[in-house]
């Protein structure tokens, strides 16, 4: 604000007020007000000069030996921007906002919502497979940047910082109101295959992902690729029904490998949802995915042109009594996946699934179990099995502590008994709770 803005503003307001009550105002009152304004102005000027002196003194301290002393009056003031109208009244910041790097005025207000979620993992017990979870690891630090782009679109970015490097976990543009009732998305995203493939690590009810994700979906990241997604609600008088179609570049973990531009991969998903009562609901889905795999690639040439097709079904039952919704809930979930992978030694047909149940027995406590079983995509003769028991404690909505006992019977190795411990914590903007 310029030095004289406040007195001028006061004068303006007073003029307005005196206009409205001109008939009742007396000359004496106007004179008194005028004197008050003059006094205010003098006081304001005095304070301003004092501040300028202080500022100059601070500058001199910061630069102990300047060749010539910079006059205080020519010192560049710190760049600031006005708070947009309405922000202050709406509880936003008041006064001036600092602007770093000389950005356009008001830029900080339009910064995206930023959140960082830390996932610290500890493991104990025996596991003889190559590269098991290390004893202690900062498994993932996810940075989320989310904002509305313009009246037509919003953007979401999720960067996943591991101990080895950075990965763009997701980064996409969403057009939420395209004509035709479509929800269109473009960018890199987790594919709408089943349930847990769409979920980030920090919202899973476990410290790890089920065996079926690792064995049939190409690893921890599952199907996660650059492409387009179009989803539409299918109107009907009975249930919520949503169909999603996605086209990807065709490179996704160990599952799909694209050796030329035409080797795209495809995902289709149909989701049905119905409230049974106000507390109980059921959510079911079927999924399909197809793309080229890397088993026929020799010297960077895809000689085999082999494909992988994965079919999936998922079902979730949720219970949360509304009157005690913050104290008790239950989620029962299962997913079946069937992979048909073309390979030089013939098609491998592998089935995998998991069952899980998570019960919230107090406001901050959750207990869960999971049963895993999956054949391996590249060798359907090998079957891994696993059982887990999980206990989770939430100190608050923004942090959680989890312990998981996991027993895994590997097809080609000894049984592993492990205890996994996880701290998760979130700072920054309050994200929406996933459903």
């Amino acid at each position: 604000m310029k030095p004289h803005t406040l007195p001028l503003l006061l004068l303006f307001v007073i003029t307005l007020v005196s206009d409205g009550s001109a008939q009742t105002s007396t000359v004496a009152e106007i004179d008194a007000l005028r004197a008050e304004i003059v006094a205010l102005k003098a006081d304001y000027d005095q304070r301003l000069q004092a501040l300028e002196r202080q500022f100059a003194a601070l500058q001199n301290q910061a630069q102990p030996a300047p060749p010539t002393q910079t006059p205080a009056t020519t010192a560049a003031p710190p760049q600031t921007a006005e708070v947009p109208a309405g922000a202050q009244g709406a509880g936003g910041p008041g006064g001036q906002l600092p602007v770093y790097g000389g950005a356009a005025a008001g830029s900080k207000i339009f910064n995206p919502d930023i959140a960082v979620i830390g996932d610290f993992l500890g493991a104990a017990g025996s596991n003889k497979v190559p590269n098991p979870e290390p004893a202690l690891t900062m498994h993932e630090s996810e940075a989320a940047f989310q904002a509305i782009v313009d009246p037509y679109a919003r953007a979401d970015f999720f960067f996943s910082f591991g101990e080895q490097g950075v990965n763009l976990e997701e980064g996409y543009l969403t057009f939420p109101a395209v004509p035709g009732g479509l929800l269109v998305r473009a960018g890199k995203m987790r594919a709408a295959f089943g349930k847990i493939n769409t979920l980030h690590n920090h919202v899973l009810p476990w410290t790890d992902r089920p065996l079926v994700t690792r064995s049939l979906m190409g690893g921890e990241d599952g199907i996660n690729d650059a492409g387009f997604s179009v989803a539409r609600l299918i109107p009907n008088p009975w249930i919520f029904l949503e169909a999603t179609g996605q086209v990807f570049r065709g490179d996704s973990s160990d599952l799909f490998t694209s050796s030329k531009r035409g080797d795209l991969s495809y995902v289709g998903h149909l989701r049905g949802y119905q409230d049974i009562t106000e507390s109980t609901n059921i959510d079911i889905g079927i999924s399909y995915s197809r793309g080229h795999n890397g088993s026929g690639i020799v010297d960077n040439l895809d000689l085999g042109r082999f494909r992988t097709t994965v079919y999936g079904t998922d079902a979730t039952v949720r219970w949360r009594p509304l009157r005690r919704s913050i104290y008790h809930s239950f989620v029962g979930r299962s997913e079946f996946m069937w992979s048909r992978r073309g390979q030089p030694n013939g098609v491998q047909s592998a089935l995998g699934y998991y069952f899980s149940g998570d019960y919230q027995f107090a406001r901050r406590w959750f207990a869960g179990i999971r049963y895993d079983r999956s054949k391996r995509a590249d060798n359907a003769l090998l079957t891994d099995k696993g059982q887990s028991a999980v206990l989770t404690y939430w100190p608050s909505e923004f942090s959680q502590l989890r312990g998981q006992y996991r027993r895994t019977q590997y097809a080609n190795g000894p049984t592993a008994d492990e205890f996994l411990m996880q701290f998760q914590f979130s700072i920054g903007a309050h994200g929406a709770h996933p459903f």
Binding site: G92, T174, A177, L233, F240, R318, R323, I326, S396, A432
Partner: protein
Amino acid sequence: MTNKICLAAFIALFTVSLSVHAESKLNVVTTTEDLAAIAREVGGDHITVDSIAKGYQDPHFVEAKPSFILKLQKANLLILVGRDLEIGWLPPLIQQSRNSKVQVGADGYLDASLQARILEIPQVQITRAEGDVHPLGNPHYWLDPENGKIIAREIFDRVARFRPDDRSYFESRLNDFLNRLNDAEKRWVAMMAPYKGTKMVTYHRSFPNFAERFGLDIVGYVEPKPGIPPTPQHTLDLINQMKKANVKIVLVEPYFDLKTPNSIGRATGAEVLVMPPSVGGVKEASDYFKLFDYDLNLLINAMKKTSAN
């Protein structure tokens, strides 16, 4: 020729279906039952109103169920409490609604808090060390009838803009509501006048506007910090504080567990009241007027009882 007739018939049918659509009732979806109750007062039978959250559930923790997406998909107007109350569940519902009318900033998106009197807006830097604080102020502002009037006027402006032909209908309903609310408010304030300054404790910070309007003095909370469940140490401190200040009332929202409040009640001799902050919180609080009637009668009966002891 036949094709042309068919085309004309199709266009006619399409036009008729459009005009039928245009004359249909304005479809209003609100996030809470309080806003739905006020919208009903203004809109009468010229609008349909549906609320996402029930009055007896915690409005901070509503699940973003797909069935709510279907509600929003058909909405002409979405009215929300704002001030980040719905931050944990409304954004994904709006995003998936496929409805351009109710997207943030669109004409059909009405944040009811913008003109209301909001309390507890933080004046200093806040952190989550203070719990799940609302950086934009306390969102439970509808519990002041003066704010009820402001919300009603905002809803009127919006529905009248959408249905200009019904403007006079909405206006007469708005004026009727404001008159009735003025009368009721005078009655409520008079009822509470003898109890001005009564000290009480509430579970969550749900009642600052209510306390301000009716002259109550909230001296503590069962939650140590917003959104943080009671701890033994805080409960002991609260009991001591209540004994010192002679606090005899504990207000609990219907969705909180009564175990800790009851033990506080036993230790201090205070009355523990399950007091709904929302329409629909109990069966008797079926509209905006009955919510205040119920809450104030509950309080007055308890205050009479505790002052007699």
